[in-house]
């Protein structure tokens, strides 16, 4: 059976609908021992800011049942190092694998600086992280207020050379309202969900496990919430939606496609299985074969 696995997002074609979730795959380099990056639909980088960020104090990681909390605080080496070191590495795979740069900032100006620095770079798409719950200034406000989201989306869209994906926070009352705000302001695509704000207390030390007290929950535990939100967002807008949250195997990915996602991202599953992204690709293909699906695009939003 010949199978068609490509999907298109804002005019950019991916060889398959599987990408890596920002912040869980480093710059790609760290996983090269485990994964042939040529096999991936796209690599999404760790959030990049206009200058190096030191991130939060440690502990930054806490395991939870079927999930984990993280409070990295968007540590990153900044756009200069990204352009001189990380991007050339990813370009080695650019014949097959799309490059998506995740952008973060404390203010609209900081986002725009990064977006402008990327304008001449060989990057396919920008993913704008307006939803990291671990950065106190700015970040979260853009992601949880529809007016602020509209404003930053419009500004980024005006300055960006590449199509923009707005990455939405699940920490909102109505994801449909946020999705529409981003679409109205010119977003080319949406991605969701980012992590869900959580907390863990060590009862024997009677204090928080994470130095930041709160952290973002990810992993299999959040999958049903993510599927529901992807469904609601995808049905509220016309632009493509990239689904993520707890995806660990092909079946999980198919569930997101059926809910309305055009592509999916694999995140915390990498920490349990470094080859998770490849297993998801193989699992989708296996499902297509078993179910007689010849074109992956026929799965998108097909739950009825």
């Amino acid at each position: 059976m010949s199978m068609q696995t490509t999907v298109t997002i804002a005019g950019v074609t991916l060889q398959n609908p599987v990408m890596t979730a920002s912040g869980t795959f480093g710059s790609g380099m760290e996983y090269a021992d485990f994964v042939d990056l040529h096999r991936l639909g796209a690599v999404v980088t760790k959030g990049v800011a206009d200058r190096p960020w030191a991130g939060n104090p440690t502990p930054r990681i806490a395991e939870t049942t079927a999930g984990m909390l993280n409070a990295i605080g968007l540590q990153n080496p900044g756009i200069d190092v990204f352009l001189s070191r990380d991007l050339p590495f990813l370009q080695q795979y650019a014949d097959t694998t799309r490059i998506i740069v995740n952008v973060c900032g404390h203010s609209i100006e900081e986002y725009l600086t990064v977006v402008e620095r990327l304008s001449d770079a060989a990057v396919d798409l920008l993913e704008i992280n307006v939803s990291c719950p671990n950065v106190r200034e700015g970040g979260i406000a853009f992601g949880t207020d529809a007016g602020a989201l509209h404003e930053i989306t419009r500004e980024v869209k005006r300055h960006a050379k590449q199509p923009i994906i707005m990455k939405l926070s699940p920490n909102v009352t109505s994801i449909a309202e946020m999705a529409r705000a981003a679409e109205d302001a010119g977003a080319d695509a949406l991605s969701l969900i980012n992590t869900i704000t959580g907390m863990q207390i060590d009862i024997y030390r009677r204090t928080w496990t994470l130095a930041n007290r709160t952290g973002g929950l990810s992993g299999p535990a959040i999958k049903p919430v993510a599927v529901r939100m992807v469904y609601e967002a995808a049905h509220a807008v016309q632009i493509p939606v990239i689904g993520m949250g707890g995806i660990a195997c092909g079946e999980d990915a198919v569930e997101f496609l059926l809910a309305g996602a055009t592509a999916v991202a694999v995140g915390a599953a990498h920490f349990h299985e470094p080859r998770a992204s490849l297993q998801v690709i193989e699992g989708i293909e296996q499902y297509m074969q078993d179910q007689g699906v010849t074109d992956v695009r026929t799965l998108i939003g097909a739950a009825c």
Binding site: T24, E30, W53, I61, G67, M68, F271
Partner: protein, 258 residues
């Protein structure tokens, strides 16, 4: 090259209350070096993250691990018996450099569950250093591995116990005070102990190598979960942070802020 492989349990036994020794057969062992570690997975996928465990000793085909039952994951490890299989991520991190001790007097200090990684180091240094002294710090008379250290030819072993029941009463540094000054120090243990050793070594201008501990997710340098503070800007991160899983877990004492 880092890999995730299936290892077979060769043996497991209790060394002291709550302290287990697990021997795994795996091809990863061929690349192991003193001070490096592995990520050990439970069979239960609801525990997402690998547990970092140091290499206590290795041959070309086996890894010997000594761990404390500290929570749900390590409690599950303790149930494994010969012939059973475990998923292992390795070999991870940078171990102890042997060169600084070549032909010199080395002092190794381990506290509690920081003792195991010093065993392979002591074996390796016993043939390359001029003199190897090991100070093992325990809470009480529940010693573990002490006899193994005494079995390494040419290594002198001192014991310190917090309750004073065996050896020098107090900490490893209380015992170190009674020793001639070494040329180089290697240590592993709880952070307060490492901080004290860092200060002690700096005062005496003795180079020291410390193995640090931090909560980890990926174990391979991707998530930035496991950082420690560094004195200077780290060449990878471009901030004063280094990844314990990748640049460490062993750092020069002068490089890190504890």
């Amino acid at each position: 090259m880092k890999q995730k492989v299936t290892a077979t349990v060769r043996s497991q036994r209790m060394l002291a209350e709550g302290i287990m020794e697990l021997v795994l057969e795996t091809e990863l062992a061929a690349e192991a070096h003193a001070g490096q570690f592995i990520g050990l997975y439970t069979a239960d996928a609801s525990r997402l993250l690998p547990r970092p465990i140091s290499i206590c000793a290795h041959t070309d085909r086996t890894l010997r691990l000594v761990y404390r039952i500290a929570g749900g994951g390590t409690a599950q490890f303790a149930l494994y018996g010969p012939g059973m299989v475990m998923e292992v991520l390795g070999i991870l991190g940078n171990g102890y450099p042997l060169a600084p001790a070549a032909g010199k007097r080395a002092l190794l200090m381990g506290g509690g569950i920081g003792i195991p990684p010093l065993y392979q180091l002591a074996c390796d240094l016993s043939t390359t250093a001029a003199e190897v002294t090991v100070i093992l710090g325990y809470r009480d008379a529940q010693l573990f591995l002490a006899e193994d250290f005494r079995g390494i030819g040419g290594v002198r072993v001192e014991i310190a116990t917090q309750d004073g029941s065996v050896g020098v009463p107090g900490t490893v540094l209380d015992a170190a005070g009674e020793e001639p000054s070494p040329d180089v120090i290697y240590a592993c243990g709880p952070t307060p102990m490492l901080r004290a050793i860092q200060g002690w070594a700096a005062e005496r201008e003795i180079p020291a190598w410390l193995s640090l501990e931090e909560r980890m997710a990926c174990g391979i340098g991707a998530c930035l979960g496991c950082v420690c503070q560094t004195a200077e800007e780290d060449p990878h991160s471009h901030v004063r942070n280094a990844r314990v899983c990748t640049e460490g877990p062993v750092f020069a004492a002068s490089e890190v802020v504890l």
